[in-house]
Symmetry: C2
Amino acid sequence: MEAHESVLSERKKQILKAIVDAHVAGGEPVGSKVLMQQIACSSATIRNEMAELEEMGYLEQPHTSAGRVPSEMGYRFYVDSLVEHYAMTAREIAQINQALKAKMSELDQILTTASTLASNLTNYTGFALKPRSRALSVSRFEAIYIAPGQFVLVMVADDGSVKTRNVKLDLNCDSASVARLAATLNRYMTGRLADEITLPTMVAMEEAMAEDGALISPVIKIIYETMNESDRGELKVTGVDRLLEYPEYSDASQLKGLLGALEQKNDLMEMISTAAERDPHGVVIGSEASVKEMNNSTVVFKTIVKDGKPIGAIGVIGPLRMDYARVLSTLDGLSGNIADLLGEGAAQLGDGGVTVTDQESEDDNNGRQKGQNGNRG
Amino acid sequence: MEAHESVLSERKKQILKAIVDAHVAGGEPVGSKVLMQQIACSSATIRNEMAELEEMGYLEQPHTSAGRVPSEMGYRFYVDSLVEHYAMTAREIAQINQALKAKMSELDQILTTASTLASNLTNYTGFALKPRSRALSVSRFEAIYIAPGQFVLVMVADDGSVKTRNVKLDLNCDSASVARLAATLNRYMTGRLADEITLPTMVAMEEAMAEDGALISPVIKIIYETMNESDRGELKVTGVDRLLEYPEYSDASQLKGLLGALEQKNDLMEMISTAAERDPHGVVIGSEASVKEMNNSTVVFKTIVKDGKPIGAIGVIGPLRMDYARVLSTLDGLSGNIADLLGEGAAQLGDGGVTVTDQESEDDNNGRQKGQNGNRG
DNA sequence: TTTAGCACTTGAATCAATCGAGTGCTAACC
DNA sequence: GGTTAGCACTCGATTGATTCAAGTGCTAAA
């Protein structure tokens, strides 16, 4: 592959690079004229060079009267020898960091899964919607020593949900420090929103921890993040690709428009909450939707109710000619299952009656009594 | 809305329903001839009825010489009065149950997020790949009593990772039972794969628990599920819709084919592992791919390395004319961030040097020392 | 070796002609 | 009165010819 470089003159490389760049940017075959701006010679010269590059296999002509397009070999050479380094912006880097750190609550996971299921089972695009939920305060702390500098923090929230965090510090804390930490947290932090912790409280806690005072600050941050992470309202959309096989969306622009409308989560939430009032089925057909881009589509949804309050919704979006029977019963089934999982189905217990939730488990998930049966056999 | 029913004759309802069903199934306007099979009268009669239904607003004609299509009002009536109940198959119900119960490991979450980020930042379709990983055994158990019948189970796995489960049973276990449970688990279960637990061991554990013997069986199941959940190899694909705006994929069938190929996860894994050997950049251009459907697309990926071993990959898929510079650096940045999160980046510690992971945290995540800095301020 | 100029090629756009599916309407029928 | 057969009619889709324009290859001059 390095042989390329010795064969291609500097100017050929320039031209090849310019062609790749232009074609990547514009998508059209690139002609000799546009290249004149970047290469310091006439179009005829460039044409000659391009003819040679084509002969060598780096370029292709879709047809005689079109410009040139890089061949696969051309792209390969570009990637191997011509790509310039692109430096990510600080903004992009920050975005990566933030997004990767964010955890998914269990409700989020369930809703995502439900959206995927709705899509899979109906062959339309699925979505799941979660309204904002309030921040929680912690009513009880426990801390379990795991290893030097490492412990598990267990938080029982004011709604009865339990969250755990595996914490590692590079501070030297032992079993005793961890126990003291739990005691201190229980004394100063219980019943308070993490927002409400004032500097004096922090200082008091650090004093109470004596030589382990350094633990407080990072731990408070962790608690803050944990108790607030459930606070994002969100819309998940899955299975967009399924709509591709419906001729209604065969022109990509149509679908693109619909998806763009979906990005306006507020509109969708608004639509669903109003539709839920007047329509028992949760079916919004075409122009019944307030959003123009949805006027050629149908939205079918079902709210998920927990303790009598709607805590989210799942649904599907597809063409007007939707298989309503199937969609309606699928959503019914799904929402029932979710309600069960979230603890509405307290009655249906099997052998042992076990409920298991992972640590994130009861994020956004208040007042649960019994959940799904943990036994699978 | 109920007024409809009194206005429409039984035959009109039949015809409307038949039209909706046929149109939903076939996508084409439906003519009077095809309806003859379902309605017991001649095409002329049906035409008369259709003309009336159109007059009333339930049907529409795309043009004079086409068949009829339901109007929005027609669909509305269908949904309100004509849909037949569709009963889900046992298979579908099982699928729902299983999928909703499955938890996502942290690695899964990170990879999903990474895939989304790759897609967002590059404007191509992103993917993330995770090979199967081995099951873990537990080297230490802890149990924290929360409430009657409820406790948090903390498991330190043989690779040093920590997992926690919030367990609720409808058995009457108190603080002492929970403590005894931990002791018993530590005595009989440490160092073993959950698969290896034999019936005699179970019996011995139940005996050791005396009157709380009933705890053992459900708890073993929980441990089993927890330690094996990381075992699924998987491919996540996100941002399919981004490809819609590239003319290369403007005919939906092209894109559909590509996506179909992506479903063959094994092919992709194969491709990536072979490509990773011979190509330092991880760029597969067009026909370099072994899969035919990808011959008009480029796949760029980057393996994620942890402790010297590849534990997954992230990448993007898009047209040949891809913005390689941007894609390559984005994937570099992402994979670096992921490696840090997973504990490779032990060196880069900031103030406090805090590592936080939630319970699922170190799923598939062995030998970590220090991770990313937990402080955000 | 580069460049200006010109004939040439060829997909895309435009337009007319043809085709056919399905209708509306009329008249006969039960 | 409701139903049905028959037929003229409509109108989008398909096909084919024509034009248009972008971009080339080649030749001859610099």
